[in-house]
């Protein structure tokens, strides 16, 4: 039997200190992935600062820290930054880094398209923030509902125009990346890497890419029509036109976008959970089926964001039913993860703590989603702080916790060094407590009648709750600071990781940390969906010890 001898782990190489010209022109999916992720983390910090100003403004009644117009720009910038420039971009980055290695490819199928797709993102971000220099950026929430974004009510600046252009560029970049992922996964798999052996993270990326391919174009269409209205005088969404049509187009993108932001996270959980429980994923096939169930259902639920516009009750009933059905595939994934951990031998490393943090909090987001799906209840909860709490439970307790798990899990592979464990523990607990302290009691504000997106409030009964939320939000900021400190410190002189510090399952752990250009000297044989574990167990994987 041939033995696969892996190359010696690098003590630390100079991968990250390449000349600027290389960073600007590289087509290596790993460097592009890192640039995506760094862009995402920077956006996270910027979007978080917007959030802190918002929280200061709301900490007590009748405050005037920012004026209402600025406040509206801040909430819009917070939403756009977090959704378009942080979560989606970071997840594209980590997929860019991992997908080719996981399927045993040397690079993405279209490396230069990959490079172009990445560089459109800074263009998109700069376009959006340019709005601030034209007299004010977008001020109608991240959804930018017409007619509030129409010229008749929004003529004081070019903020809306820059936002629309930014989103069009963003959508083009997303479509490029999705095409690239799908082609890579279909065409460049290593020998033996059948579809039935793809890591679940790769399956998650397939479903995400399909979603973005389908819904990216309608989003761009909505923005183009809005620009026609604003600059060419058409009447698609104006007061004289059909404002609700805008909502249909926007949410046909907007709801699947929620899944674009969580399915890769699901994929990461499905990779990390088995490694630290020392058990294979429970129900591989039903995990894949559940992903595609979510993909299909997520495209049939968009009007649940519009239950108060006055639709026919049977139409509302349809969207309610389809929305609630999403609980079924999501439940399958949830139960399968718990079953994977059941009877396991669980090592609570920092990434595994984030996995359980994700499970504990995302559950709340899922359950509040059921209340929101029920049309009668939604007419009460819609556009209130209950929705703000719900969406942060799925986006922060969901997506961000999976991203944190992913950062702690793959940082050793990407940099060759471990993230500090002690800081990591602090990072987890402060984030978990800060997050729940901020968003759990936020539900009650919505139930008591506090609408979202109000610049201030006169009701004294909401004062204490809002103050607790604001204080907790600063604990989140502290926690994110810990993460950044940990990344910087560990990147410079963290503990050397070796090729496979977690004794993991998938192909990225069968190469050096960080992997060389083109990833593998020889692609290891693939005999199941856990190829590296197979090699380790059959004794074919001879790993050189980490040099002292």
């Amino acid at each position: 039997m041939a033995t696969t001898v892996l190359p010696r782990p690098k003590a630390y190489d100079d991968t990250f200190f390449k000349p600027i010209s290389l960073w600007l022109t590289t087509t290596d999916h790993k460097l592009i992935g890192i640039m995506y992720m760094v862009t995402g983390v920077l956006s996270f910090v910027i979007g978080g600062m917007f959030a802190l100003i918002i929280r200061l403004q709301l900490s007590q009644p009748n405050l005037k820290i920012v004026d209402p117009e600025t406040y509206n720009q801040l909430i819009s910038a917070h939403g756009v930054t977090m959704i378009f420039f942080f979560v989606t971009i970071f997840l594209t980055g980590i997929a860019n880094y991992l997908v080719p290695i996981m399927v045993g490819a040397r690079d993405m199928a279209f490396p230069r398209v990959n490079l172009l797709g990445f560089w459109l993102i800074p263009v998109s971000i700069i376009l959006y923030y340019s709005g601030f220099f034209t007299g004010g950026a977008l001020n109608a929430g991240w959804t930018g509902y017409a007619p509030l974004t129409e010229k008749a009510y929004n003529n004081h600046s070019l903020g809306v125009d820059f936002w629309a252009l930014s989103i069009i560029v963003w959508a083009i970049s997303g479509i490029m990346a999705s095409t690239n992922f799908l082609t890579t996964i279909v065409a460049l798999r290593a020998p033996g890497m059948r579809f039935s052996r793809l890591p679940l993270f790769v399956w998650a990326q397939i479903s995400t890419s399909i979603l973005l391919l389908v819904v990216g174009a309608p989003l761009a269409a909505a923005m183009i029509l809005l620009e026609f209205d604003r600059q060419l005088g058409t009447q698609f969404f104006t007061t004289a036109g059909r404002p609700v049509l805008y909502q249909h187009l926007f949410w046909f993108f907007g709801h699947p976008e929620v899944y674009i932001m969580i399915l890769p996270g699901f994929g990461m959980i499905s990779e990390i959970m088995p490694v630290f429980a020392r058990k294979p994923i429970f129900g591989y096939m039903s995990m894949v089926a559940a992903l595609f169930g979510i993909v299909f259902l997520s495209m049939t639920v968009w009007a649940h964001h519009m239950f108060t516009v006055g639709m026919n009750v049977y139409v509302e009933g349809f969207f309610m039913l389809m929305t609630m059905l999403i609980a079924v595939p999501t439940g399958i994934k949830f139960f399968n993860w718990i079953a994977t951990a059941w009877w396991g031998s669980i090592e609570f490393t920092v990434p595994m703590k984030f996995v359980f943090g994700f499970l504990a909090t995302f559950l709340i987001g899922g359950l509040t989603g059921i209340y929101l799906a029920s049309v009668p209840v939604d007419t009460q909860l819609h556009q209130s702080y209950y929705v703000v709490a719900h969406l942060h439970y799925v986006l922060f307790g969901g997506s961000v916790f999976t991203i944190m798990a992913g950062i702690y899990y793959w940082f050793p592979k990407i940099t060759g060094r471990m993230l500090g464990r002690k800081l990591g523990e602090w990072n987890f607990w402060t984030l978990f407590i800060g997050f729940n302290g901020t968003f759990l009691i936020m539900h009650t504000l919505g139930l008591e009648g506090m609408p979202r997106r109000i610049a201030t409030y006169a009701n004294e009964a909401w004062a204490t709750t809002n103050l607790i939320i604001t204080v907790s939000s600063f604990l989140i900021a502290f926690s994110v600071t810990l993460l950044l400190v940990n990344i910087v410190r560990s990147w410079a002189n963290g503990e050397i990781a070796g090729n496979d510090p977690w004794r993991a399952n998938t192909l990225e752990w069968a190469t050096t940390s960080p992997p060389p250009p083109y990833n593998f000297e020889r692609v290891p044989p693939v005999r199941s969906f856990m190829p590296v574990r197979d090699l380790r167990e059959s004794g074919e994987l001879v790993e050189d010890p980490v040099p002292a």
Partner: protein, 257 residues
């Protein structure tokens, strides 16, 4: 303190938090809507309660399962070199946890749809009609007899109340005159958007005297937070008196609000 004890304390603390909040009913921390005063609001309230039963059961069940996994299957409790059973799945189990959630959500959907059919269709047996128009930034209530209440938005004081008689089924017809607004008084019922281009509808029937507060729920510009709503319900006699005063004010040369 060991990591396990710490984890246990925090998780138990978090799990009991909702009950503490629910039990105390602290100001600003209510676990449910204000007590409804209109039948459609009452039906929403009931739907919320019914959904809460499976939701709380599932919440507790899953969190306890997670807690069990965290405490029971830690590697530190395993002998060195322990290899757990390599289970790849169990079709029967997977069918069960597909079918049970399916039944639960179908039940919730059916119950909700019933409420939807009952309360969310246009009515035509109303005893009174009011046209509510939203504008930047305030609400205008047109009683269709020449009397109009202009509820101009402000945060500095209570806005002019929208006055309705008790024990009367009132159809509300919503119109948007500029951007989209959303009329919401949580103690009465859910939101209804006032969208330019078509008429939206809702209704209310309040059986007690009182004043209830709400505000616009759809971001409509810089004055969004000022679009406060007051609804005042009066006995029929008081309402008739109020209405005649309004009519007299209309006729007088110097009307005062």
């Amino acid at each position: 303190m060991t990591a396990r004890v710490r984890a246990l304390l925090i998780i138990v603390g978090l799990a009991t938090l909702p009950f503490l909040l629910g039990g105390c009913g602290l100001g600003g921390l209510s676990p449910i809507f204000p007590t409804p005063v209109s039948p459609n609001g009452q039906d929403i309230y009931d739907t919320y309660l019914w959904i809460s039963i499976p939701a709380i059961v599932i919440f507790l069940g899953v969190e306890v399962a997670l807690l069990w996994v965290v405490l029971r299957y830690r590697r530190s409790r395993r002998p060195a070199g322990y290899v757990p059973p390599q289970v790849h799945g169990n079709t029967r189990l997977e069918v069960v946890w597909t079918a049970i959630p399916l039944v639960i959500v179908l039940g919730i959907a059916a119950y909700s749809f019933n409420t939807l059919l009952k309360d969310f269709q246009p009515i035509n047996d109303q005893q009174m009609e009011v046209i509510i128009s939203g504008h930047q930034f305030g609400w205008v209530y047109d009683y269709e007899n020449g009397v109009v209440v202009d509820q101009e938005g402000t945060l500095a004081e209570q806005v002019t109340p929208f006055v309705v008689p008790t024990h009367t089924l009132i159809k509300l017809r919503f119109r948007g005159t500029d951007v989209i607004h959303s009329w919401w008084v949580p103690a009465i019922s859910g939101k209804t958007d006032a969208v330019p281009g078509y008429e939206n509808f809702s209704w209310l029937k309040i059986d007690q005297v009182g004043t209830w507060h709400g505000e616009c729920a759809e971001l409509c510009g810089a004055g969004h937070a000022t679009m406060q709503i007051n609804v005042q319900a009066m006995d029929q006699i008081d309402f008739d008196n109020w209405m005649s005063r309004q009519k007299a004010a209309l006729a007088s040369p110097s009307p005062s609000k």
